[in-house]
């Protein structure tokens, strides 16, 4: 498996006359990690869903040079895995069976799993340290365990493009780091192109190669963490008073304390 490049042109989404996303152009290189940031309601999840082809959008998306609309659903499933922010959790399903569902695009409509599918699911489970939970039911997991199970399903899908909507929002610090480091490893081996939406600007700035700042459905800034995460930008688009500390290629965004409005 090798990572694939993504190219979006004029991407727009309008739902019931409300424009959620307008004229977004994006180029994401194969093997890149792009993080979409922006205030609440900026259109981060919408952009991610539009890139996945999970909702009707104007404009075009090409993955590895192939227009998204030319792909069959199964072809798309073999190329793009999507981890939503708030998934539907099937009651009573075992973690292993859930991860195994990631193999669906590799199987015929009525075909059972082959040995390689079981291997892929087992490998994903091991990568995410879910082995001891494999037989547990999804609805008995903690938020963090569930999030890892979802990432596990996406890994079992073995698709070169991985789209994750707020992959760390339910995780504690240790598991946040663990999941992000895993994504970093996947990316660094050249196997996957990764696009995440992130609330935590420090994490987004520390892990992603490039940030795209959305506001009101439009790309207002993109580039390295240093370029995008500036005190002016965050004041202008988030309405936040913060201090941004850049040091050795790392970034720390922290609220300005001591003054109340």
């Amino acid at each position: 498996m090798t990572a694939m490049a993504i190219r979006a042109r004029g991407l727009g989404v309008t739902v019931k006359k409300t424009r959620l996303l307008a004229d977004v152009d994006l180029d994401i290189a194969a093997g890149e990690w792009l993080s979409i940031i922006g205030p609440n309601g900026a259109g981060k999840s919408t952009l991610l869903r539009a890139l996945a082809g999970a909702l009707r959008a104007t404009g075009s998306v090409e993955i590895d040079g192939r227009p998204l609309e030319d792909l069959t659903r199964r072809e798309r499933g073999r190329m793009v895995a999507w981890v939503p922010q708030s998934p539907t959790i099937p009651v009573g399903m075992r973690v292993f069976d859930y991860v195994l569902l990631g193999r669906t695009p590799h199987l015929g409509p009525l075909a059972p799993e082959r040995a390689e599918d079981l291997d892929a699911a087992t490998a994903a489970i091991e990568k995410l340290d879910l082995g001891h939970l494999a037989d547990r039911h999804l609805d008995t997991l903690s938020g963090g365990e569930l999030q890892r199970a979802m990432v596990g399903r996406a890994l079992a899908q073995e698709s070169p493009v991985l789209l994750l909507d707020e992959p760390t929002s339910a995780l504690d610090l240790g598991h946040q780091q663990e999941v992000l480091e895993l994504l970093e490893r996947l990316r660094s081996t050249g196997e996957r192109t990764i696009i995440t939406t992130m609330h935590d600007l420090t994490l987004a700035g520390s892990f992603a190669d490039r940030l795209v700042l959305l506001a009101c459905g439009e790309v207002v800034e993109q580039g390295s963490a240093k370029q995008v995460l500036t005190e002016e930008n965050l004041a202008k688009y988030y309405g936040a008073r913060v201090r941004v500390i850049h040091e050795d290629g790392r970034v720390l965004v922290t609220p300005e304390l001591g003054r109340s409005m």
């Binding site: 659903r73 099937p90 009573g92 292993f96």
Partner: protein, 342 residues
């Protein structure tokens, strides 16, 4: 690690349970027949070889033309309702779904009522008017529900479909009630049909229902994994490569056809399609790869057992089987619920 799958012992046990149930029920009836010989006679008829049971011709006829067809019809209808119920619950991710979802019951009832008031038949025999009308009514109602759902919501979400089903069911119930009130002389017949029952005339009901039911059940048994995929929600199932709307339509068509087949020969038997899949889930787990086949086996034997109670408990007159399924099913379900959650 292995995917969820039934253990062989569950299936073997389930099949044995069905056989034992049938053998015991075969011995129960108003005519007092020698038990061993009844079983030998049934074995003789159902297997290629010839063994003489020693029963008199009239007794043979009771076994072959009365008891056996009724058991086979019970197996067919029970398996059909339980499988259709499990399928609807999976397709709609809704534990309250049952086979009569989406207007099937109201449509079938309206069809049957039309047939009764026009004297198209009495609900028995090969291709009887009531059966045909109930079958068509049930399918028309589902088709209408689907169409309404599609008009109301291009993505055809499950919620829209369920609401469309409620609207269609109310509409057909209104029509049915109007027709029934205008023809009070047929009310008794209509009422009995609505309560459901496994009345047979020889093998004709079995011949009418079993082949189509077997095909539908067979197709649905192949869909266990697909139903598991649908469980993660429409958007995610779509991203996993499933054509959600098309798959849902296909499963609904098969499950509705299966239900309509059962409704045509047995009226409306409440509870089986709701409770059997849930009981199976509580005992054997939630994956549809297991829920579907176990529902077939448990549903079939449950209805045959309820039918024997319906025939024998009320002495001379039969109790409607729907009353029995609910009377025994509800407490049994509560027990299962309590033990499974402990």
């Amino acid at each position: 690690m292995r995917p969820a799958a039934g253990r062989l012992s569950w299936y073997v046990g389930g099949v044995l349970f069905v056989f034992v149930t049938c053998a015991l029920v075969l011995l129960v009836g108003q005519a007092d027949l020698p038990r061993g010989r009844v079983l030998v006679e049934a074995f003789d008829r159902l297997t290629p070889g010839t063994i003489e049971s020693g029963l008199e011709p009239i007794q043979k006829s009771i076994v072959w033309n009365l008891r056996l067809p009724r058991i086979v019809l019970g197996l067919t209808v029970g398996a059909a309702l339980a499988t259709a119920g499990a399928t609807f619950q999976g397709v709609f991710r809704n534990p309250l779904a049952d086979p009569y979802f989406l207007g099937v019951a109201a449509g079938g009832g309206f069809g049957a009522t039309i047939a009764f008031v026009n004297d198209w038949g009495d609900g028995r025999g090969l291709l009887d008017g009531v059966q045909v009308a109930a079958f068509i009514g049930a399918l028309v109602a589902v088709a209408l529900t689907w169409t309404l759902g599609a008009i109301g919501d291009r993505r055809q979400s499950t919620t829209t479909l369920i609401l469309a089903g409620v609207a269609v069911a109310s509409f057909f119930t209104a029509l049915q009630t109007y027709l029934q009130q205008r023809n009070t002389e047929d009310i008794r017949e209509i009422y009995v049909w609505f309560l459901g029952g496994l009345t047979t005339q020889g093998w004709s009901e079995v011949i009418q229902s079993a082949p189509l039911a077997l095909v539908c059940i067979g197709l649905l048994l192949l869909a266990g994994r697909t139903l598991d995929v649908l469980g993660v929600g429409d958007d995610e199932a779509g991203m996993l490569g499933l054509s959600v709307v098309r798959t849902r339509l296909l499963l609904i068509v098969i499950a509705a056809l299966l239900t309509a087949t059962a409704v045509a020969v047995s009226g409306l038997i409440a509870f089986v399609g709701l409770i059997v899949p849930h009981t199976v889930r509580l005992i054997f787990g939630h994956s549809y790869r297991v829920v579907l086949p176990m529902s077939v086996l448990i549903g079939a034997s449950f209805l045959v057992l309820c039918d024997v109670a319906a025939r024998t408990v009320g002495n001379a007159s039969e109790i409607p089987i729907g009353v029995v399924t609910a009377f025994f099913g509800a407490p049994f379900f509560v027990v299962i619920l309590r033990t499974a959650n402990r």
